[in-house]
Amino acid sequence: MKRTLLIPLLLAAGVAIAPRAIAHGTQIEYRTTQALEIQASYDTGKPMADAQVVVYAPDNPAEPWLTGTTDEQGRFVFTPDPSMPGQWDVQVRQAGHGDIVSIPLGEPVAEATGAAAGEEVAAAEPVAMVSDSVSGSTALDPLQKAVMAGAVIWGFVGTALFFSARKK
């Protein structure tokens, strides 16, 4: 009876030891870094899904530093190298439509936000809007745009009225 109990116990011990013997001592380190999330959408509001993204580092604006594609929501997240402060240019392009946005990264290591829980934590603070052709700097709300467009249309109609009145 004692012997029959002992054999499974020995086996169990062997199994328990075995994985420890195979493992090479993994180690997970983490640090908080600053990630940039960009959101690209057309001016109709439709996100630019699966659009190509090219990131240019400040030190070399000619060579792509990183390439990738946006997800279905038109989002793209990347972690810029904190040792390279300056203008990070992100270009999004799909079928001849797209834009380039310049993201200034001032201090080499910005204060980390959010809970540290993994190797990389997306701070996702600087969200840049990139759209069909509205560049990030000219952000007008729809009402302003509508009023401006209305003024332009009235200008055309007024020109038409002016010239048709002169004819008579």
């Binding site: 060579e63 392009r93 001849g96 834009d99 467009a149």
Partner: protein, 229 residues
């Protein structure tokens, strides 16, 4: 359809302006030679407003979402007025709506304005065609063709410009398929604009035929004037 800033290299933008300027000059010269150059300005001005608004009207054609252009329509109805009208319309689209850009204004003007002038020539074919088939049918058919040709040629120019100018950082195969997809979506748009142009032309022909440039009546009148002199 509009090419925004930062997509094309500087040389192409300069070339666009270099082509657009003489075409604009030629169009204005042709307008100046008309008996009354300001006679058609009300019509041109109203259609410029329509062109300006058209780009904000988007039509969802999967997988892309495209917008109306109306360059063929402007060409058919306005003749040589179409090019300056499109140039002005594009300028306001770039500044107010953010469609296109100021650096690519020349390229965009060539891309949409030159097909408009071609559409005008296509629309003029209705005079010889009217001798063979019913004039109303000829007007409608040439109107449709003009509207469709305007957008089709513009799409071809857009496609070739964008495909030949893919920056090195981008995967050109993926980008090319995306461009082809967008171009294919313009085939239904060409049909829509063709039908719209045909409807407008037939409507004008019925209600106010003198609004259509080089309509038989006007050229006849001009011929009579010449004979009288």
């Amino acid at each position: 359809m509009h090419i925004p800033d930062g997509i094309l290299p500087a040389q192409v933008c300069v070339a666009g302006y270099a082509i657009a300027a003489p075409v604009a000059w030629y169009s204005l010269r042709r307008i100046n030679k008309l008996p009354d150059p300001s006679a058609d300005i009300p019509k041109a001005s109203l259609l410029t407003a329509a062109f300006f608004v058209a780009s904000s009207i988007s039509i969802p054609i999967p997988p892309a979402s495209i917008h109306l252009v109306f360059n063929g329509l402007l060409g058919a109805v306005l003749g040589y007025y179409a090019f300056p009208a499109i140039l002005i319309g594009l300028f306001f689209q770039a500044v107010i709506l953010g469609h296109g850009g100021l650096t690519t204004l020349g390229v965009d003007a060539v891309m949409m304005g030159v097909p408009a002038l071609i559409a005008y020539q296509v629309f003029k074919l209705r005079h010889p065609l009217a001798r063979r088939i019913r004039p109303r049918l000829a007007d409608g058919f040439c109107g449709f063709l003009a509207g469709a040709v305007g957008i089709a040629i513009a799409t071809l120019i857009f496609c070739s410009l964008v495909i030949t100018n893919i920056p090195s950082g981008f995967d050109s195969a993926t980008e090319r398929t995306a461009i082809y997809g967008l171009s294919l979506a313009h085939i239904p748009l060409a049909l829509i604009e063709g039908v719209f142009t045909a409807m407008l032309v037939l409507f004008l022909q019925q209600v106010k035929p003198e609004l259509l440039q080089d309509s038989p009546r006007r050229s006849q009148r001009r011929r009579e004037e010449v004979e009288r002199v």
